[in-house]
Structures are given as structure tokens and as C-alpha cells.
């Protein structure tokens, strides 16, 4: 009976989780009285009850709606954008370059934004410029081409700034940029891996081809002497003494893509890709919030992001070959393989973490982790008319794992197998049937 209960729950579990995520995704229905509390000058708006099914024509409902709207519009009107004179930083937009400069750079934002040129002028890219203006951190001006003197450069409004976006794509990318910046992420336009430009070590690495084809050859040779699988006589000629052998015969049929499992394999793939196409595919490289970030030596990014607008006529969700080639350009910090962690642990940078001394994990749990976590990944930011959905696409590799189980080992060779021995095993191991269904982690 216990087993059957599992089966029923499998279907009924769906509902609650969906209900939970409902609120989170319901952008339009926020209770603005919360934010009214956050904003200093607001009179506290009474907390309203749950939302209603539909308009019922009562005054009570009308009043609640009126209050909700008032809380929202009061919050919007009261939150003026700008800065006090003391903190004012003027930034000037240069249309020819589609960049803005700050002549006297100062402020915390400099740690993660802007680029200082030889003359000490800080240049903001357009996303940074609009983002900082929206927060009121900088005051945006338009640098007129015919004047040296700033006195005649007009102040730009938020509307002007948005109209200056050169394409809807750039504007959508800004929305994603700002969304992540507000949460503290560090967001830069995506670059190709620094390694790919000038790392001699990788350039001189032996090509994947030779060693690969050698091992393929030996594999092929060994296969010649095996009884052909899927031959009508297969089961008349061959005797299989374990289920594993039967599986091994079955899984020769379908070829599959594998994920690179070591740092070296990943670098090789990326290198072979960058020599074919030098274009950079992602929109942003992203680092998780951190105090110690250095623009000059940012280290590997935590994430790559690709921005996509689902409602434009040129939209198409990436096909498998596009996704694969995107994986090949990934060079973010990578937690997909054990080997990568080990090689990182060997380097002096991460030796502080002390993680390398953690206990060895049993093979079947290790396998479970590989299946659940996958390998290389990137984030798709899908723009839907102002609402952004983030989707993580991760390279998976089921073909490299075998999850077939071994049947119970005989307790002793002399004793015939019996119920007793199975139960005996079970009694020893209150963890249930783990022992008998221990998973093979054969690769």
C-alpha cells in the first residue's frame, strides 16, 4: 500500500505548488500599501483584505479599490527622482558615441560601472547612464555638439532618455539590466572569454581530434568481435547473466551528445568554437552581489544572460544547435563537474574555502547530483511586454549515466537465496531498500 500512496501523491502534489507560485508571478496585483510604508512621507494605508473574485457592486469593494489605487498613485507621485545639490553628479550624453561622460567622477557606483579613460574622464555606457539617472544618482544632460561650455547643455528627462534608445532590443536589454542591478548583481556587456583572446596555453593545446579518433578506433575494433545486437539470433546465441549485460547491449543503439566533463574538455570546446566564429553571443555577463568586485580583474562571471523578446516578429526560441553553440561559449564559474572543483581547489585562489576536504559522496548520490544539476548553463531573459521571465537552460547528459540497479547480492554463496536473507538485509539497514536497489554508477 505504501507504494501506491506515492503514486497518488505524484499527481495531487501539483496543485499546491502552482498556487504558491501564482502570487509570485502576479505582477499586476501588488499591494502598494506596503511600498507606501517604505516611502518615508506616506500616511499609512490600512491593509486591505484578500482580493475579490469579481466586481459585486458594493460600496465596500469600491472603497477598497479606491484605496489600493490611491496608495499606488501616491507612492508614484511622492517618489521624486533627483538629488540634492551637494551630491549632484552631472553626466553628459554624447550622441555620436551613444555614451555619457562624467567629468569629476566620484561615487560608489564607480566600483561596478563606467570606464575611466586616460584623461581621467569616466564614460558610462548607455544602460548605466539611464539606470543611474532613474535612481537619481546622476543628473543627465545632453552634450551639444557645437558648444564647449556646459551652460547650454539641456537637462534630459526620463522620457528623453528612453527615446534615445537606438532599438527596441537595446531597451529590452536595459530592462533586464536594471532588473538585475536593482537586486545588486553586477552586470557587464558580455565579452568573449579573456582566455580566448590571448592564452597561448590553450592555443598550443593538442587538438581534440587526434586522441579522440584513436580511442574511437580501438572502441570500433573491439566491437567487431561482439555478437551483433538487434540481430534476430541475438538471444539465441548470447547468454546474459546479469541485467547489466542486457542493458549494455541495448544502449549501443542510440548515439547521444555528451557534456564535456573536465575543465580541459570545456576549454577545448570553447577554443574550437571561438576560432570558427569570433562573435559574442550573450547579452550580459553577470556577477552575483559582492563587495570585493574589481572592474579591472573581475574574475569569471557567475552567469551569462541572453535577452529575447517573445512578442516581436523576429522572435524565435533558440533551436538545439543554437543552444549547443551557446553552451560552447560559456566560461562562467562552473559547478557542473567534480573535476572542475578539484582543479579550482588546487589553485591558490580558492584554497581558503577548505571545501576540498569534504567527505566523499557515494557514487549513486554523485550521479543523482549530475543528473539534477547538469553541466554548462546560461540564463534566458524573456521579455513579455514589460514582464521578464528568467529561464535557466542547462546542458544535460543522460546518455553518460546508467541508472540500472543490481539485484540483491547473495548473502553467502553456500546458502540458497531466500526471503529470509533479503529481509535480514532490510533489517540491518533501516534506510529502506537502498541496499538492494543500490544504483550503479558505471560510466
Amino acid at each position: 500500500m505504501a507504494s501506491k500512496t506515492i503514486e497518488r501523491d505524484e499527481e495531487s502534489s501539483i496543485t499546491r505548488d502552482l498556487l504558491d507560485s501564482d502570487d509570485e508571478a502576479d505582477e499586476l496585483s501588488k499591494d502598494w500599501s506596503h511600498i507606501a510604508k517604505l516611502c518615508k512621507s506616506q500616511a499609512v494605508v490600512p491593509k486591505r483584505g484578500d482580493k475579490d473574485y469579481e466586481p459585486d457592486g458594493t460600496n465596500a469593494q469600491e472603497l477598497l479599490l479606491y484605496r489600493a489605487k490611491k496608495a499606488m498613485f501616491d507612492s508614484l507621485s511622492d517618489a521624486a527622482r533627483g538629488t540634492v545639490v551637494k551630491n549632484q553628479i552631472k553626466a553628459f550624453y554624447v550622441p555620436e558615441r551613444h555614451l555619457a561622460f562624467i567629468s569629476q567622477p566620484k561615487g560608489n557606483f564607480m566600483h561596478t560601472m563606467g570606464k575611466v579613460d586616460r584623461n581621467g574622464t569616466c564614460w558610462l555606457n548607455f544602460h548605466e547612464f539611464v539606470y543611474l539617472a532613474e535612481r537619481g544618482t546622476i543628473t543627465p544632460y545632453f552634450k551639444r555638439s557645437d558648444r564647449e561650455d556646459h551652460g547650454l547643455d539641456p537637462l534630459l528627462s526620463i522620457q528623453d532618455l528612453y527615446l534615445l534608445f537606438r532599438s527596441s532590443q537595446e531597451s529590452d536589454e536595459f530592462a533586464v539590466f536594471a532588473h538585475l542591478k536593482r537586486l545588486g548583481f553586477i552586470v557587464m556587456p558580455s565579452q568573449m572569454s579573456p582566455d580566448d583572446h590571448n592564452n597561448d596555453q590553450i592555443k598550443h593545446m593538442p587538438r581534440a581530434g587526434l586522441t579522440d579518433s584513436l580511442s574511437k578506433l580501438t572502441k570500433a575494433l573491439s566491437q567487431i568481435f561482439q555478437v551483433p545486437t538487434y540481430h534476430p539470433l541475438q538471444y539465441h546465441l548470447t547468454r546474459y547473466t546479469t541485467s547489466g549485460q542486457i542493458y549494455a547491449a541495448l544502449n549501443k543503439l542510440v548515439p547521444f551528445y555528451t557534456a564535456p566533463k573536465t575543465a580541459k574538455e570545456i576549454d577545448q570546446e570553447r577554443y574550437s568554437r571561438t576560432i570558427n566564429s569570433r562573435k559574442n553571443d550573450f547579452t550580459f555577463d553577470v556577477w552575483k552581489p559582492q563587495g570585493s568586485f574589481k572592474k579591472k580583474t573581475p574574475g569569471l562571471p557567475d552567469l551569462h544572460i541572453l535577452v529575447l523578446n517573445k512578442n516581436t516578429s523576429d522572435y524565435s526560441f533558440p533551436t538545439y544547435s543554437v543552444i549547443r553553440s551557446l553552451f560552447q561559449s560559456v566560461y562562467s564559474k562552473y559547478d557542473g563537474t567534480l573535476e572542475r572543483q578539484e582543479s579550482a581547489a588546487g589553485s591558490p585562489l580558492s584554497s581558503k574555502t577548505g571545501k576540498q576536504f569534504s567527505k566523499p559522496v557515494p557514487p549513486h548520490l554523485e550521479q543523482q547530483r549530475r543528473l539534477k544539476k547538469g553541466y554548462r548553463s546560461f540564463i534566458l531573459a524573456v521579455m513579455d511586454d514589460g514582464l521578464i521571465s528568467f529561464v535557466k537552460l542547462t546542458e544535460s547528459d543522460f546518455g553518460s549515466e546508467n541508472v540500472w540497479f543490481k539485484t540483491t547480492r547473495r548473502a553467502s554463496k553456500n546458502k540458497p537465496r531466500s526471503d529470509r536473507s533479503t529481509r535480514h538485509n532490510g533489517g540491518k539497514n533501516p534506510g529502506g531498500e537502498k541496499k538492494t536497489e543500490e544504483l550503479n554508477a558505471i560510466r
Binding site: 507504494s3 500512496t5 506515492i6 501523491d9 505524484e10 499527481e11 502534489s13 501539483i14 496543485t15 505548488d17 502552482l18 507560485s21 483584505g49 473574485y53 459585486d56 458594493t58 465596500a60 477598497l64 538585475l180 537586486l183 548583481f185 545486437t229 538487434y230 538471444y235 547468454r239 547473466t241 546479469t242 541485467s243 549485460q245 542486457i246 542493458y247 544502449n251 543503439l253 542510440v254 548515439p255 547521444f256 551528445y257 552575483k288 552581489p289 526560441f317 533551436t319 538545439y320 544547435s321 543528473l371 539534477k372 528568467f390 529561464v391 535557466k392 542547462t394 543522460f398 546518455g399 546508467n402 541508472v403 540500472w404 539485484t407 540483491t408 529481509r423 532490510g426 531498500e433 544504483l439
Partner: protein, 351 residues
């Protein structure tokens, strides 16, 4: 009292073809044991004593009707779906139970039904209260007062719910009268149905069914298909075989809006952890397709896997192999790759 049989013993083998795992022991210094071993080895094969009989019913639906064979396919790898039950054939038992003909455990389906009715009742009560609340509002009663009443109402419901008893009265319908044969025994109406990909697996990959791969595929898609006609079945089969051959128990994912569910060992042991959607490698769908599929699968705490299948030869060659019955060559011409698709929430991934 029902006998307790541990699952591990019930479902000892993952496939309907069993290994020869009970060969006599080889004792190095005893040549007789070698001879005995050799004899055992040569005289036996992994084949079934007789293949399982399938027939087509209601057009292209592939079914197994013999109760023992149904049970065998279910117990050895969880193949097929019993048409009147959720998965395992339990209809006969349930029916006997329902008609009061035999005392037994309350079958799973029965419990589910009972729960559903209780939920409906609960919702009816809720609806009644909504009306009361609307009325209160119309009378201008304060919102705080209404909220208080709502709390009390919910509490009373909870109390009632715990008291709700299961009632299992015997009900009989006209349709039930046809369920008995001349000697007044219950006829087993239940058959086990195999998905086309399961049937192909059980005749092409394992010699289990008494139908040839060629006859089966001809019946499924006709004698002169175009490539477009066979593509869907081919990519689904390739994906199915891929997961089966790596040890997964693969079952239909229809209840979660996807193609397959992957179980370790099988449904009695644990929930499926992966929901698989099979796609041509050049597929690119509207975003709502990915979003809704991922929500259903993700909502049931399963990982959503896009399984891309890529034909690596020209379509006309693949079609020719199909027509000539060169299935191993055909299925080897496809390559499989996987992408895991999951929602990502920036606020929950800041460190």
C-alpha cells in the same frame, strides 16, 4: 490477511527478459561443477518460454489481454497501462470490492475518489460563505468584522473535515449487470495497453511480443508513409529507447503534459524525477509552449527536460530503412541531446 511482499522482490527484474542469474556455482577444483555449469549455460537462453500475445483493438491500440501476461509486463519493468485503472491492473479487484463481492483492501482509486468528493463538499461550503460575505458587505458591516467571521468559518470547516467519515455503500448500476458471464463470474474487462514505442521496444529491442517489428510499424503508420508520417514515431522511439537502455523506467507523461516520465526502477519505488518533452532538433516553438509545459512539470517538482532528437542522414535514406525494416540502422541514424529547462528567479540566486 494479505501477505506482505516487499517491493524489491515483487519487482525483482527491470526488464521482461531475465538474466541467467541462477547458474550453478563454479568451484575451481571441482571439474564436475564446470561440466554442470556448462550444461546449464548451453541448455538455457534468456528467451521467454513463449512470447506474449498482443492484438490491435480499437484501431491502432496495442493490447495484451491475458491476466498473467498483463501482470508479467507490469512486474518486469512496468510496461503498459491497464485501461481501467491508473497504471497497474486493479480493475477486477476494485469491481469485486465495489459490488460487495469480496472483502479486500480499499483500492487506491477508491480512496482518491473519496477524497475528491470531500474536497467538492468543502468547496460548496466555501461558496455558501462567499454569499454570506457579500451580503454582509452590502449591509455595510466593517471589513475587520467580516474577516473575523471568515476565520471562524474556516475553523469550523477544518473541524468538520476531520470528522468526515468515509462511507462505502454498495452501489449497483445497470451497466454492472453485463459484467457477469453465464456462470455468474465477473468477466475481466481490463486489458493492458502498450504505447507504440513500448511495443516497438518489446519486439525490436527485446524478443517479448509475438509480433514482428515490421508488422507492428506497418500497422501503426500504414504501408507507404512519407518521412513526415514516420518522423514523430521515430524520434519518440529513439528517445524512449535511449532512456530505457540507460536503465530508466519510462512511462507516459500525459498527466503532466509532456511525452515521458522517467522513474528510477518504477512507480512503486519513487516519484518520477524528470519530465521529458521530445522534440526535433530544429524545433523552435512559441514561448508560451515552453512556459506552460515547464510550469506543469515543474509544479509537480520534476525537472523538465527538452530531449532533442537529430536525424543525421537525409530523410529519404531514413524512410528507405524504415520500409526495408532496417530498424537498428534507422534508429542509429538519430542522435539524442538534452537540455534542462527551469525557471530562474534572480532574487533567490543572489549568493
Amino acid at each position: 490477511m494479505p501477505k506482505f511482499v516487499p517491493n524489491a522482490k515483487h519487482y525483482k527484474y527491470p526488464l521482461p527478459i531475465h538474466p541467467l542469474d541462477d547458474l550453478p556455482e563454479l568451484i575451481p577444483h571441482n571439474p564436475v561443477s564446470w561440466l554442470y555449469w556448462l550444461y546449464s549455460y548451453v541448455s538455457r537462453t534468456n528467451l521467454l518460454p513463449s512470447k506474449i500475445h498482443v492484438r490491435f483493438s480499437n484501431g491502432k491500440h496495442i493490447t495484451v489481454a491475458d491476466p498473467n501476461e498483463m501482470l508479467y509486463l507490469w512486474r518486469n519493468g512496468f510496461f503498459g497501462t491497464a485501461q481501467l485503472s491508473r497504471s497497474e491492473p486493479t480493475w477486477k479487484q476494485r469491481t469485486l470490492d465495489r459490488l460487495g463481492l469480496q472483502k479486500s483492501l480499499v483500492a487506491l482509486e477508491h480512496v482518491t475518489e473519496q477524497r475528491r468528493l470531500e474536497r467538492l463538499e468543502f468547496k460548496r461550503e466555501r461558496a455558501n460563505f462567499e454569499a454570506v460575505r457579500l451580503d454582509l458587505r452590502r449591509q455595510g458591516v466593517a471589513e475587520t468584522e467580516i474577516a473575523q467571521q471568515e476565520r471562524e468559518f474556516l475553523k469550523s470547516l477544518r473541524d468538520r473535515e476531520t470528522q468526515l467519515q468515509q462511507n462505502s455503500d454498495v452501489q449497483s448500476r445497470t451497466a454492472d449487470e453485463k459484467l457477469f458471464n453465464d456462470s455468474n463470474e465477473l468477466v475481466n474487462l481490463e486489458v493492458l495497453e502498450l504505447m507504440p514505442v513500448e511495443a516497438i521496444f518489446l519486439t525490436f529491442a527485446l524478443p517479448v511480443l509475438d509480433i514482428s517489428p515490421l508488422t507492428l510499424t506497418r500497422t501503426l503508420v500504414g504501408d507507404h508513409p512519407s518521412y513526415a508520417d514516420i518522423n514523430e514515431l521515430c524520434i519518440k522511439y529513439v528517445a524512449y529507447h535511449h532512456y530505457r537502455s540507460h536503465g530508466w523506467c519510462v512511462r507516459s507523461g500525459i498527466k503532466f503534459g509532456c511525452d515521458f516520465l522517467l522513474y528510477k526502477r518504477g512507480p512503486p519505488f519513487q516519484h518520477a524525477e524528470f519530465g521529458i518533452m521530445v522534440l526535433n532538433s530544429d524545433a523552435s516553438m512559441d514561448y508560451t509552449w515552453y512556459a506552460s509545459s515547464a510550469r506543469v512539470v515543474g509544479g509537480a517538482k520534476k525537472s523538465f527536460i527538452l530531449c532533442y532528437v537529430e536525424l543525421q542522414r537525409p530523410q529519404h535514406e531514413a524512410l528507405l530503412m524504415w520500409q526495408q525494416g532496417k530498424f537498428s540502422q534507422l534508429f542509429s541514424s538519430y542522435k539524442v541531446g538534452e537540455i534542462m529547462y527551469r525557471r530562474w528567479i534572480p532574487g533567490k540566486n543572489r549568493d
